[in-house]
């Protein structure tokens, strides 16, 4: 049977090798190879979308064979309702980002090689069903990000790259410990996630740590949660995100916001929920509080930002807060809303970052208000009308305006969270986030686009066809999913139904 998942994962790797082999003086060849290397997975992704069986919650397109026999480690790849939207998002965004980063001039070969390598890492994380394989791809994905930010980034790129790398590494160390712990404490020592999920193996056991017996499953849960929370990012661990976004080149921060943030929540849903249901129930209150803090904290900080990218970065923190609130509610609408929000946030934030990139490539600064108080951008709507139009769509999508995709997932998350009597007060507080979200995004739209034109930018030329080509699919997705979200929603329905049976 054609190993479609592995092909999708390793085509970019082949692309990378091909790109490295191209002669240095011909950057365009490298660009076209990487376009092809991302187009093929996109095509396969569409094939997977067509042939994905929506009625069953079991794994599909499975590839499973022994890899390291003595430790019972398998090369186990497969996708279900949870990972399909993420896979599609990864494939789509990678394709668009490769086209969006046409403007990179220096070190083109290195840039595209790293980018394709990153795509392999991401695909692997979403398809891996063996903890060891998952962890392997998780680390693979880290490396190219470090180089992409560290080499092609902005002024303080090295600081940002190091901070990003060490932060996530700290998380993955905890994950490693838990992985080994799980391998050791599971009856037939295994890394296979599905087997680990059977029989609540870690519930009763305790482990002696620092002199007293600690409950094993809660320990595992906290370890995994911190490892993934850093990625999401959840409130206390989020400080790497503004740095990484501000310093990363456009396409990289699109991928960072569009896909990498989702790995955290995907990880929690893939591992914490099925394997440690009791611990998840025990910590649901804790997660909900963190989610609400995320929403409000991100929104408040975003309001005070002067840099466009930092503002969007903090808005991502706020929107990921919705995902956590949705997840922690354990209701059908909530969790479905959370996974849909992961997809929608991916598309709308990708649009915002691409748009910020468009203006950054022309003017090489992103100040709404310059640090010295003078006007950064001002009233450029009159100069670049088409750009303003698309920005408005992106803006109102992430704002959660009905008719666009942002609203659907936000509404589902809040309806779901509200129908769980325990969390109603949290939702009332969290709804303040919707309000603040509108505030800082519209404030930015006003300061940058409306009002009197800032003379500095009167010769700003409008958006060109290449940029429109990258933004068009996202616009279509945002509008179509806003009107009729079922195409994505029915992908995940049955899987989430099975997942939630653990918690009712």
């Amino acid at each position: 049977m054609f190993p479609i998942l592995s092909v999708m994962t390793y085509i970019p790797l082949l692309g990378m090798i091909a790109v490295l082999a191209t002669p240095r003086n011909n950057p365009n060849l490298a660009r076209w190879i990487s376009v092809v290397a991302t187009a093929i997975p996109l095509a396969l992704g569409v094939y997977v979308y067509m042939h994905f069986d929506r009625t069953t919650a079991s794994m599909q397109f499975v590839e499973q064979f022994d890899w390291i026999k003595p430790f019972n480690i398998q090369y186990y790849m497969g996708i279900d309702g949870l990972s399909v939207p993420m896979v599609l998002l990864t494939v789509l965004l990678s394709f668009l980002c490769v086209i969006a980063s046409w403007g990179i001039e220096d070190g083109v070969k290195g840039y595209y090689a790293m980018f394709l390598f990153l795509e392999t890492g991401m695909m692997g994380v979403f398809c891996a069903l063996d903890f060891f394989l998952f962890f392997l791809f998780w680390e693979i994905m880290l490396l190219p990000m470090y180089f992409l930010i560290g080499i092609w980034g902005g002024k303080e790129k090295v600081y940002a790259a190091i901070k990003f790398f060490l932060y996530t590494l700290f998380g993955s160390v905890l994950m490693l410990l838990v992985m080994v712990g799980m391998y050791y404490y599971s009856e037939p020592h295994t890394f296979n996630l599905l087997q680990l999920a059977q029989g609540h193996q870690f519930v009763g056991k305790t482990v002696a740590l620092f002199g007293h017996q600690l409950p094993l499953d809660k320990l595992f849960w906290i370890g995994l949660f911190i490892g993934f929370a850093i990625k999401v990012p959840v409130w206390p661990f989020h400080t790497w995100l503004p740095w990484a976004h501000v310093e990363a080149p456009t396409a990289v921060s699109v991928i960072l916001a569009g896909v990498l943030l989702k790995m955290g929540t995907y990880g929690i849903l893939r591992m914490n929920y099925p394997i440690l249901p009791e611990a998840t129930l025990w910590a649901s209150n804790f997660m909900m509080i963190l989610g609400v803090i995320n929403i409000l904290y991100g929104a408040f900080c975003a309001m005070a930002q002067k840099d466009l990218k930092k503002l969007v970065a903090y808005s991502s923190v706020s929107h990921m807060g919705y995902v956590i609130v949705g997840m922690a509610s354990f209701t059908t609408a909530g969790v479905n809303g959370a996974v849909l929000q992961m997809f929608n946030h991916g598309t709308s934030t990708a649009m915002l970052f691409l748009l910020v990139g468009v203006v950054y490539d022309r003017v090489h600064h992103r100040w709404i208000v310059k640090p010295d108080g003078s006007k950064g951008f001002g009233g450029i709507a009159s100069v670049v009308p088409v750009y303003t139009g698309i920005m408005a769509i992106g803006l109102f999508a992430s704002l959660g305006l009905p008719g666009l995709s942002g609203f659907i997932s936000e509404a589902l998350v809040f309806l779901g969270a509200f129908s769980n009597p325990k969390f109603q007060t949290y939702v009332v507080i969290g709804s303040l986030g919707i309000l603040l979200g509108a505030a800082y995004l519209l404030w930015m739209f006003m300061r940058v686009f409306l009002g009197p034109l800032n003379e500095e930018h009167k010769d700003l030329e409008d958006i060109n066809w290449r940029e429109i080509f990258t933004l068009a699919p996202l616009c279509v997705l945002v509008i179509v999913l806003g009107v009729y979200p079922m195409p994505v929603l029915n992908l995940m329905g049955t899987t989430i139904e099975k997942l939630l049976t653990l918690f009712s």
Partner: protein, 691 residues
């Protein structure tokens, strides 16, 4: 019939898409696309209205499953399946609203082709207006609160875009963001109400809710500590307060006058703000069931009406006067619903839509001709703009509550209801008191506006000279709207029931009774409350006539005959005047205190906290700690390990080497001596061994 009704909303939507994408390239920038679309909707809406008129009742629904999330079949459990079903509901209320909205919108579209002629982003204006109409019609048609909320926010977006239409003016964009944010506050709470509905009933469909309330479901469930129905009722009310600019969220409507006048007419008079009241009417059974919320609604309505009316007295900008009058009239409607008189409330909504749209359009044509909004620069335009004067005067009579006009009919019934409410509940006398006071003040400031604009001598010769009557495309809508302001349209020639027995016009009352039955509101009042109502209405009739007459009288002696000098009154009332002039300092309170001092400083402080504390200390702190540890270990490594251990051994070996070297004397014989010693020792042991 419901499927065709869907077309009503789709026509403007299609027009929006065409206009937004190709508007610029179409001839006349595509304004005809929007106008045709809205007229198309009007044409589709008319048969529905006719059906209501002929057989007094119309009902049809059409539903489709929008979102289906699989889950456990049993309802009420956490992971139970969620099926979001949306659709179209046509009943008496919808039919009337459809007809009224499409009519007003069409007339305003026609008017704005003239008014907006030559504007820079002409095509975008029509795109936004079409989108707005689609939103409003979608709201009226939707049979559940979710799509109702979606269209509600879509309208909020359009009002934001249209208020900020002249985006070069900073005041316009501030006004637009203010409008959006204030309504957004209301919307967020409204959304929580919807979430509450889904929690309690699992659906937000009106019909389902009416039945559930009739069967008395969920009287004991609590949401976040409050009784469920009270929570939902309060949240829904806050939605209305936000959208219909009721106190305390009314600050955005006066600033919304920054937008072009047709926008003010369409959005901020006839339709959008009315949507809030329409929501209350749709959710009336729920509000009634929660017992607590209705009085609050009544008080909010009364207070808003009175406060807005007072401010309107001192305004000099013609559109601001009308804006505050709108807020005041909306307060009336909300008060009507609050006191249980939801049929008169709905009637007032319809009548107000017509005459307020007419007033705004008249003020638009006045502004268009004299190019100023300040009444102090107008005066004596009666002769210059006869048609505009005539239509405006009719609308003013209607709003002031003069019998024979539509305003009088609905306002009188609301005041009657308020009086009956206070009599029945032996308290709350403040509501009718404020109601009658507002009626008087309304009459006063409306006639003040008429006199200052049209009567007396021209205060600004230059502008007076330029004043001219508008072309037909602008005056026809005025005339039609003025025609609709007569009482005969709604309840008979004079509007006074006792008099109208000879030629009663009962269609409106029958429609409203049908709607009430549908909603399950018992009209069967007990006999004594029947008597109270009758008595109240009689008393109300006398009072409202007296109050209106008084208002007109005072207004004419001060502004027409100038017997009382307005300036002297102003000086006398001193502080009160400044209070009113500054709109009770609400703007300063909200913008200054809440936003500038509170929110932005909090954000700056939080962002700074995030950078300095969480980032620096929590994260870089680790780096500093590792630096310290590294240097300590580094020094330890140099001093101890390197010096003592390594070099030490080197010295020892060197010393040892030195000692041994001394044996190397170079004298051969001494070597032999040593060899001999060794041999002896070896032999000695050998001998021992052998033995």
């Amino acid at each position: 019939m419901a499927q065709q009704a869907l077309l009503i909303a789709l026509f403007p939507l299609v027009a929006f898409v065409i206009q937004a994408l190709f508007g610029k390239k179409l001839p006349r920038h595509g304004d005809f696309v929007s106008v045709l679309a809205i007229f198309g909707s009007f044409v589709v809406a008319t048969p529905i209205f006719m059906k209501l008129l002929t057989d007094g009742h119309v009902f049809d629904t059409f539903q489709v499953t929008w979102m289906a999330l699989p889950g456990v079949e049993a309802a009420g459990k956490l992971n139970s399946a969620v099926n979001v079903v949306v659709g179209v509901l046509i009943n008496n209320l919808t039919a009337i609203m459809l007809f009224m909205v499409t009519l007003c919108a069409s007339l305003i579209h026609l008017f704005s082709t003239g008014y907006m002629h030559g504007e820079e982003r002409y095509h975008l204006f029509f795109a936004y207006i079409s989108l707005f109409s689609a939103g409003m019609l979608g709201l009226v048609l939707s049979d559940n609160l979710l799509t109702f909320f979606m269209c509600w926010e879509l309208m909020g977006l359009c009002s934001y875009l249209l208020i900020g239409f002249y985006y070069k003016k900073p005041s316009a964009i501030n006004a637009s963001i203010k409008a959006f944010m204030t309504t957004r506050v209301g919307d967020t709470m409204f959304f929580l109400g919807i979430a509450g509905l889904y929690y309690v009933y699992g659906t937000s469909n009106f019909m389902a809710i009416y039945k559930a309330i009739e069967s008395g479901v969920a009287s004991n469930i609590t949401i976040a500590g409050f009784p469920a129905l009270a929570f939902i009722g309060f949240m829904v009310m806050m939605g209305t307060v936000g959208k219909s600019a009721q106190f305390p969220l009314h600050v955005w409507l006066p600033d919304a006058m920054e937008g072009p006048t047709p926008v003010s007419a369409l959005i901020h008079a006839a339709t959008m703000v009315a949507a809030g009241v329409f929501l209350l009417i749709r959710m009336f059974p729920l509000l009634e069931a929660s017992h607590v919320v209705l009085p609050v609604v009544a008080y909010v309505g009364a207070i808003t009406a009175f406060l807005a009316a007072c401010i309107a007295i001192v305004q000099v900008d013609i559109k601001k006067v009308l804006a505050y009058s709108t807020i005041s009239q909306l307060g009336y409607m909300v008060m009507g619903v609050g006191v249980g008189a939801f049929a008169p409330g709905f009637m007032h909504l319809v009548t107000h839509a017509c005459f307020k749209a007419c007033l705004f359009l008249c003020s638009g044509s006045v502004i268009h001709s004299v190019h100023t909004q300040d009444m102090r620069e107008m005066g004596g335009l009666k002769s210059k703009m006869p048609i505009t004067f005539a239509t405006m005067f009719i609308a003013t009579l209607a709003i002031s509550g003069v019998p024979g006009f539509s305003g009088f009919v609905s306002k009188d019934r609301i005041l009657g209801g308020a009086l009956a409410y206070s009599m029945e509940h032996h308290g709350h006398y403040l509501i009718p008191l404020l109601g009658f006071a507002t009626a008087g003040i309304t009459a006063f400031y409306m006639f003040r506006m008429i006199y200052m604009t049209f009567f007396g001598h021209a205060r600004d010769e230059h502008k007076h000279h330029h004043a001219h009557e508008q072309p037909l495309t602008m005056t026809i809508p005025l005339m039609i709207l003025a025609a609709l302001s007569f009482a005969i349209v709604f309840a008979g020639p004079t509007g006074i029931e006792s008099v109208d027995h000879i030629m009663p016009v009962k269609w409106f009352d029958h429609a409203l009774e049908g709607a009430q039955k549908e909603m399950g509101i018992a009209e069967h009042l007990s006999p004594e409350s029947e008597a109270i109502h009758h008595h109240a209405h009689g008393l109300a009739l006398m009072l409202s006539l007296a109050v209106a007459g008084l208002g007109i009288f005072i207004s004419s002696i001060t502004y027409l005959k100038h017997l009382i000098n307005a300036e002297s009154i102003k000086r006398m009332t001193g502080p009160l005047y400044t209070l009113l002039w500054n709109k009770y300092y609400f703007d300063e309170l909200y913008l200054g205190v809440l936003i500038q001092k509170g929110l932005l400083n909090f954000n700056r402080m939080l962002a700074m906290f995030d950078d300095k504390v969480v980032d620096r200390i929590f994260v870089d702190g680790w780096r500093d700690i590792t630096m310290v540890v590294k240097s300590v270990i580094g020094r330890f490594d140099d001093v101890v390990v390197d010096r003592v251990m390594v070099d030490g051994t080197a010295d020892v070996t060197a010393g040892g080497g030195w000692v041994l070297r001394q044996f190397q004397t170079g004298k051969v014989q001494q070597y032999l001596v040593l060899t001999m010693i060794v041999i002896i020792v070896a032999l000695f042991y050998a001998n021992l061994g052998l033995k």
